[in-house]
Symmetry: none
Subunit: 244 residues, 2 copies
DNA sequence: GCTCTTTGTGATTTTGCTGTGATATAATGA
DNA sequence: TCATTATATCACAGCAAAATCACAAAGAGC
């Protein structure tokens, strides 16, 4: 049975985290990392989140956050943009596979787009209502648990092997899904063909560079069948990336 | 529902993008070389940087710095301009491929421009707030890790083979990118045509002096398509350099 | 058995990259 | 000044990479 500890707290508080019993094991509430240099707001957030049952850890500087993340993996990150030493914008692209909700005082439209493209899952402008924050946290955690991956108007579902394009669902084959997942995990960076082959070789051992292209073409065709848009871009001599 | 493992497990190391990954996978914090003849300021800097987790080495004279640089390659250099024997201004053009942040008591505007054109990545005027310095260090290290190269309003990206001109992104071919990188690495110095050919010969073995000119022309055209400006200057009989 | 889906491969078309000849423009030096 | 040489651009051709079509082999489900 897996057993977890809250980071930054002593063991006497542990039991508070374990009120959700499921199956024959302990179900643990998600952990949230707050990255904010303002101690007042941070305390407020921590109290709210702990009252809601989440495990909470704190970082006040970007470098602290990196240190924590090198040791522990929270289920969600609340990231303030204004940070000393290493700003939130710089920190954001370093975080992978963890949903990040960006909190900032002023986010204009282009900034929002940049953030979402840069890897943020959601954003919320300060000051905000705590209930709204809790709702957004729940949404992100739910997506994470269901292994959903979103980029622009595409949402990839793990359990059904499908993508939603503008609320129309498309069925993918196992390899198509694996490839699209690789591309959507890092929408900005192109993924090399050999790198792709390695990563999906577990499922498809004899997939060659030749057949990979065919799969890409098939994915394109399926996505284009909805609104005619091409979501995949070739980087000559390198590989593929999502169109941004 | 997701079952998660113990929080303290180190599996999360995989999930972060450690751009500082060196050698065979050990994560090391960046090394910074401090070049300053003032022992008091130097000590203060060293303490601050080591507290922030960086590795630090010191040089008190320009000649010392050269000796150190011939043996080891730091990830960033903090350079004081007022140095005995070999001044910072003289030292600066000798440093290649390492971001340099210049620290100086008085930098007027023209001086700032000269420094940046001459190869400094950033400058900071003494006295300065340590947090500001740490922030600027983080910015430079991050750019270095991501293989970004900036000159005026151009930013060159390695992974996508693109340049950003005033926030509009332009795609380059492999050779165009290699050439522009050579030019932007030290924008003041003209690069000879034969020297260019040698350095990009790995990618393009049969690129001749004749075709090199064509590539230059193509780069110019692509850059001009944004704002009509010509960023490349020909030095008669020598080669090319960036327009400053 | 049959059908449908998935997946890899050959063949072909399309696209983009790169080098070269021809020609025009600009710089240098006597 | 003119002659010479270097530089700039156009247009095009050869080639390599990418995209698509059509089809066959291998499984899955009935």
């Amino acid at each position: 049975m897996k057993w977890k500890s809250r980071f930054g707290s002593n063991s006497s508080l542990l039991l508070l985290n374990f009120h959700h019993l499921k199956g024959d094991g302990f179900y643990t509430m998600p952990d949230i990392l707050i990255i904010d240099d303002d101690p007042y707001i941070g305390d407020l957030l921590q109290e709210t989140l702990e009252n809601a049952g989440y495990g909470v850890s704190r970082a006040f500087k970007g470098t602290d956050a990196l240190k924590i993340l090198s040791k522990e993996k929270p289920d969600l990150i609340l990231l303030d943009l204004m940070l000393p030493e290493l700003s939130g914008e710089e920190l954001l692209p370093m975080i992978r596979d963890i949903p990040v909700i960006v909190m900032s005082a002023k986010i204009d439209v282009s900034n929002k787009v940049d953030l979402l493209l840069g890897g943020a899952s959601d954003y919320i402008t300060k000051p905000f209502d705590m209930r709204e924050l809790l709702a957004r946290i729940a949404v992100q955690l739910r997506k994470n648990e269901k292994n959903e991956l979103t980029f622009r108007d595409l949402t990839l579902y793990a359990d059904t092997l499908t993508v939603k394009v503008n609320s129309t669902e498309i069925r993918l084959t196992r390899t198509e899904w694996a490839i699209l997942k690789l591309l959507m995990q890092d929408p900005l960076k192109p993924v090399g063909k050999t790198a792709m082959l390695e990563k999906i070789s577990a499922d498809t051992p004899d997939c060659t560079e030749r057949s990979l292209k065919q799969h890409i073409s098939n994915i394109r065709k399926k996505l284009q069948s909805v609104n005619g848009e091409d979501y995949i871009e070739a980087v000559y001599g390198i590989g593929f990336k999502m169109k941004s």
